[in-house]
């Protein structure tokens, strides 16, 4: 038996009947409920950001449509599918773990880490392309009052775009860290098929990250889709190629 194995405490009644004392380690439902409460604070945080987004969208309707039309829907859509598949691998991994297939579960966690990293890589390419097109936080196009300034509503749009996709990307990085930690805990036999609340909650966290993207994607990429064509990624501009006007 491992040094870290869960050892239940036994209480004996006056009749001599033994009962397992339910410590926090065994309170599966409590652990789950607590994590849901944490996730609701995340919903409120992103909810407030969506509220700001809606506020600006209402005030600067056409600017938002125009800015959205200039985003790269191919890369954004690719990332949507990547996150969708990562949610599947995470769910199947948990299912494998609960059915006793620890090795298969660990493979699924690695697969999820791969898809999460792929998402970040594509996002990095997308941001780099936008930087090369002169659209990035701190550049002239998003600073008001100069010759290269975009319309005011577009400045607000891109400010929210970089803030929200950046915060979402930060959640992805945290998720990768949590999955690596989970693998370490499984290898140390601290998360077992009988006590897998940590795995369950990290899977919930990953689904929440997916859930947020389900709204981030249409709100930024699709509201202006009928105003412009499907922009193909101009990867060549990253390597000194021709810079198209974004």
């Amino acid at each position: 038996m491992s040094d870290h194995a869960y050892v239940p405490e036994i209480a004996t009644t006056r009749d001599g009947v033994e009962h397992e004392v339910q410590g926090w380690q065994g309170d599966f439902y409590g652990g789950k409920l607590g994590f849901w409460l944490f996730m609701l604070t995340e919903v409120l945080m992103f909810g407030a950001m969506f509220m700001v987004l809606t506020y600006y969208f209402t005030l600067h309707h056409q600017d938002y449509i125009d800015a959205s039309a200039s985003l790269n829907r191919v890369l954004g859509g690719f990332n949507t599918v990547v996150l969708l598949i990562s949610a599947l691998t995470m769910g199947l991994g948990l299912l494998k773990f609960r059915s006793g297939d620890v090795k298969g579960a660990k493979l699924m966690i690695w697969a999820t880490i791969f898809f999460a990293s792929l998402f970040l890589g594509v996002k990095a390419i997308e941001w780099s392309l936008e930087f090369h097109h002169g659209v990035f936080l701190g550049l002239d196009a998003l600073q008001s009052g100069n010759a290269h300034s975009k319309p005011f509503g577009q400045i607000l749009f891109f400010g929210m775009y970089f803030t929200m996709t950046g915060l979402h990307g930060f959640h992805i990085i945290i998720g990768i860290g949590l999955m690596l930690w989970l693998l370490k805990r499984i290898n140390a036999n601290k998360v077992t098929t009988d006590h897998h609340i940590l795995y369950w909650n990290i899977a919930l966290y990953w689904d929440l990250v997916h859930l947020i993207w389900v709204f981030v994607f249409p709100y930024f990429y699709m509201i202006g889709a009928d105003a412009g064509g499907y922009n193909l990624p101009d990867i060549g501009s990253l390597f000194g190629g021709h810079n198209n006007e974004h």
Partner: protein, 144 residues
């Protein structure tokens, strides 16, 4: 709902794949909708598709189906978000401070089609642009 029990992987994995197929179909609809149907209501349609995807994820991937207490807790949080959303939407539809607000004014945008409007705008609007940035302040004066 007992969730800390052993499960049969082969018996349950089918549900995950069905959800994946459903979500992929909805994602495809998300892509084709702006050029195929209801093009005048893209924003609403897109958010509705997102809502359906969110419900599917919540119910099946996040195991909310059958969870009474957590289900009500989530509903309450979503209600709070929608409640404040409604207030904000009402407020912004009756916005009274266009000339004074930082977020509505086009005064700081040299590239804006409405930038010229600022030249003839009120004194309060001019003051706003001064608060916004030094660069915009100079640009504004050069317009004058």
């Amino acid at each position: 709902m007992s969730t800390n029990a052993k499960v049969d992987y082969q018996a349950e994995k089918g549900g995950y794949y069905k959800v994946l197929i459903g979500l992929l179909i909805l994602t495809t609809i998300t892509f084709i909708q702006p050029s195929m149907f209801l093009t005048d209501a893209t924003f609403v349609v897109q958010l509705l598709i997102g809502l359906i995807k969110a419900i599917i994820i919540l119910f099946y991937y996040m195991h909310l189906k059958g969870e009474t207490l957590i289900g009500w807790t989530v509903s309450f949080a979503v209600f709070i978000v929608i409640f404040f959303f409604s207030i904000v939407i009402y407020d912004v539809n009756n916005f009274q401070y266009v000339d004074e607000s930082h977020i509505s004014s086009a005064t700081t945008s040299a590239g804006s089609p409405t930038a010229g409007h600022h030249s003839a705008s009120s004194e309060s609007s001019h003051t706003t642009s001064e608060h916004t940035s030094g660069a915009s302040h100079e640009a504004t004066h050069s317009e004058h």
